[in-house]
């Protein structure tokens, strides 16, 4: 099987695609293909990894022009997965000499600066995450707050985010506006807004996402929902936040 991988140029040279032939073993995933290349064909290939079980969020990248975790993408399923149906924007439709029937195209996560090969600079993504104050203020209540299973499960949906950046890389708004905090950060915002342990901070938290590059910037492409490997559905969180902002006359 042929894997066409985006490579940075060395020492000022232009970026290029390099094609590797890898014989897939049973049960092999794309992350293992990248390791096979690094181990036996080209030890200069750079990509991030850690858990290899779709929980650490290190290996989000573009595979056949869809945003996926490399470890979660089974080689034998490539071409058989239900198409993500991402709304097109420039990184997804950039011209490349690629034969989808014979080659798997592997490119870095869009919308973030490329550092080397498949490694992108996540700094902006992490800064946006921090900007929504993604933490409880530890105010030591006298008695533990009781939380119903329903509320806990509702928050769980947003808190299952693994900060892989797939939604950020899939979002057409993030492509054109680097100041937009993006889908993941807004899902985290709602997770804390709705936490009964932080009810006193709700207004303050909402005011952090009401600015033009916060909630109002979303243009409802829903690419974040389609690309999220953890079914977080950030756009649904953004909708709820928007309704709260309108209700409280904050926007």
């Amino acid at each position: 099987m042929r894997f066409k991988v985006w490579r940075s140029g060395k020492e000022g040279a232009a970026a290029r695609y390099e094609t590797y032939e890898v014989e897939p073993r049973r049960g092999m995933n794309v992350l293992e293909v990248l390791f096979e290349i690094q181990d036996h064909k080209d030890d200069s290939l750079a990509f991030r990894y850690s858990c290899r079980g779709a929980v650490c969020g290190s290996c989000a990248m573009m595979i056949n022009r869809e945003i996926r975790l490399a470890c979660r993408t089974q080689v034998h399923m490539i071409g058989k997965y239900r198409p993500m149906g991402l709304k097109p924007f420039p990184p997804l439709v950039r011209q490349v000499d690629w034969d989808p029937s014979r080659e798997v195209l592997i490119e870095p996560l869009p919308n973030l600066p490329i550092l080397k090969d498949l490694v992108v600079d996540m700094a902006r993504f992490y800064e946006h995450h921090r900007a929504v104050k993604p933490y409880l203020e530890d105010k030591e209540p006298e008695r533990p707050v009781l939380i119903s299973p329903q509320v806990s499960e509702k928050l769980d949906k947003w808190a299952n985010c693994i900060l892989c950046g797939a939604c950020y890389g899939a979002c057409p708004v993030c492509y054109k506006n680097q100041r937009y905090v993006g889908p993941a950060a807004l899902a985290w915002s709602l997770r804390f807004v709705d936490d009964p342990r932080s009810s006193a901070e709700t207004l303050e938290r909402l005011s952090l996402v009401k600015h033009p590059d916060g909630v109002p910037a979303c243009e409802w492409y829903y690419n974040c929902v389609r690309a999220c490997p953890k079914s977080v559905a950030p756009a649904a969180a953004i909708r709820i936040l928007k309704n709260k902002l309108i209700e409280l006359k904050l926007i």
Partner: protein, 558 residues
């Protein structure tokens, strides 16, 4: 030169909790070879133990832990672990962890292996993910200085004290010195020396080797936990919580074979016992397709699986194409946890001044010869907090030595890394890594014997020589993973040597360490900890007494 009062190495649960504590009084820097949220803690599934019910007791939790450890745990350490647990859980609740709840809104608890009471708190089956995020969030809130993608190369020691460290910046290849009043190693375990392992690829035992090379002691390295239920083929963890919620194990005849091995506890016997039972079934020709057994959840119903075990359902669907609501999950035992580690006391201080350790990287010992499920997350927060406080106290004593010696080590390490790259060596580094994993998996696995292990030990030694003459062909400085993976492999080989030496020397069977040539526990000779240190580059073993207490040493049945 970068300087902090306290340096923490490792951004998982133990490192983050230690940082939070030290931050109360000190300036803290945290180094991690990955961004903290990528740490292996995120993969923990089932839960965290604590006594929260009036009908449970700290004594009962302690007894279960001591018995589970096959009496090798130090009983005063276990008392700290279990005694502190309720406060740490309440603290995690305040930090924002989304624990699963009872109908009344309290923190829910589920049964776990080897426990006489359902005392495992959980956040569905993604407990580690939720804990890691909450602690990372609190560290963001406190403004912790995080150096991510820094790989620590060497500790710097002057006299009997650690004075700093030297680290390699993966994005740029820069090698820099860090000076500190105290260093905490919270680098996790060494599971990746095995081929079949639930661990993240990054779990290469770096901390143990940093400590050993600096002259500190390691302890009980031969005790390696094999989890009974890892997904067949790629060995991703399938939580013990699946059995806690009522899942059963069956062999090729459809028999619940655990009745033969632990007739009362059945599937909820401790991990060492269940893992050996599964392997015995497979070895006796009762495995399915000769290589696995089935974990059956189909009778639990869609609702329970979707709410309490959604993570493993997703794993089974993504990685095996199986929906556990409809089909059983094929499982085999796989390496899961490192009981051994850097020898520390109850205050998390090591045998060197100003060097501390916590979490899986350390060995207090609270897990002894076999860790109970739900006790490792607990250890990270209990002893992470203690390590942070001890390190802060050490750092407040002022600098240990007028000369810290860091610059000198920076120069040496630069030369070492320069020599590594851009050449043609004798071997492909990846081949050596694979050979090491195969040796460990075939010779230092669930069932061990002297002959296999002796051959294995010689093979590991020869790999060490071959690695020394191998090189990384890629010479670029930025994101040169060839360099980090080479350095990790050096650590893996060094750790494997300790595991091998400890396992060969321990001529008995206890907890996770089972010798077919010495199938009985031998308290007269081996109710003691193995201690490892380097002396003139040679590995030396000695033994230390186990601190016994109120629970008398008994035969261990379930």
């Amino acid at each position: 030169m970068i300087e902090h009062d306290v340096l923490v190495v490792g951004g998982g649960l133990a490192g983050l909790r230690a940082s939070l504590e030290a931050l109360k009084t000190c300036d803290v820097g945290l180094l991690s070879k990955v961004h903290p949220v990528r740490s292996h803690s995120c993969a923990a599934q089932g839960g965290i133990n604590a006594v929260l019910s009036e009908t449970d007791s700290v004594d009962a939790h302690s007894f279960d832990t001591v018995k589970g450890s096959d009496y090798l745990a130090d009983q005063d350490s276990v008392e700290i672990l279990c005694g502190e647990a309720p406060d740490r859980i309440r603290e995690l609740d305040r930090f924002g962890v989304l624990f699963s709840r009872t109908a009344e809104g309290a923190i829910a608890q589920r049964p776990f292996g080897g426990a006489g009471f359902p005392r495992t708190c959980y956040a569905a089956d993604r407990t580690g993910h939720h804990l890691l995020n909450a602690l990372h969030e609190q560290c963001i809130r406190e403004g912790l200085k995080i150096y991510d993608e820094w790989f620590v190369l060497r500790l710097v020691r002057m006299g009997t004290s650690v004075t700093g460290l030297v680290a390699y910046h993966v994005p740029t290849g820069e090698i820099a010195g860090f000076r500190a009043g105290a260093v905490i190693l919270a680098t996790g375990g060494y599971g990746r020396i095995y081929r079949k392992s639930t661990n993240s690829v990054i779990n290469t035992g770096d901390g143990a080797v940093l400590a050993l090379d600096a002259g500190a002691e390691l302890k009980d390295m031969e005790f390696v936990q094999f989890h009974p239920t890892t997904l067949l083929g790629n060995n991703i963890l399938i939580t013990e919580g699946a059995r806690g919620e009522g899942g059963t194990l069956v062999n090729k005849d459809g028999d619940r074979f655990m009745a033969k091995y632990a007739k009362e506890a059945m599937e909820l016997a401790p991990r060492d016992i269940v893992a050996r039972a599964i392997q015995t079934e497979i070895n006796n020709g009762l495995g399915i397709d000769g290589d696995h057994v089935n974990l059956v959840l189909t009778h639990l119903g869609e609702e329970l699986i979707k709410t309490k075990l959604p993570g493993i359902r997703q794993i089974a669907m993504d990685f095996a194409g199986i929906d556990p609501i409809e089909e059983p999950i094929p499982v085999e035992p796989g390496q899961h946890y490192s009981m051994g580690g850097i020898a520390v006391g109850n205050d998390c201080r090591s045998s060197l001044d100003r060097l501390l350790s916590a979490g899986e990287a350390s060995c207090v010992s609270v897990h002894g010869a076999n860790r109970l499920g739900g006790n490792s997350l607990l250890e990270t927060v209990v002893f992470g907090k203690i390590a942070g406080a001890s390190a802060a106290a050490d750092a407040k004593q002022g600098r240990a030595e007028a000369e810290d010696g860091v610059e000198q080590v920076v120069r040496k390490e630069r030369a070492r890394v320069d020599e590594l790259v851009g050449g043609r060596g004798t071997d492909v580094v990846a081949d050596i890594r694979m050979e090491l994993k195969d040796i460990m998996t075939s010779r230092f696995q669930l069932f061990r014997n002297a002959e296999d292990m002796r051959i294995g030990q010689e093979m590991i030694d020869s790999l060490r020589g071959r690695l020394a003459t191998s090189r990384v062909s890629e010479a670029s400085r930025d994101f040169n993973y060839g360099v980090t993976r080479y350095l990790e492999l050096q650590n893996m080989v060094a750790v494997a040597r300790t595991v091998a030496a400890g396992a060969i020397a321990r001529e008995e069977s206890r907890g996770s360490h089972f010798r077919t040539d010495f199938p009985k526990r031998d308290d007269a000779r081996f109710l003691r900890h193995t201690v490892f240190r380097l002396s003139d580059g040679r590995l030396q073993l000695s033994y230390a007494a186990v601190r016994l207490g109120k629970f008398p040493v008994r035969e261990r049945t379930y």
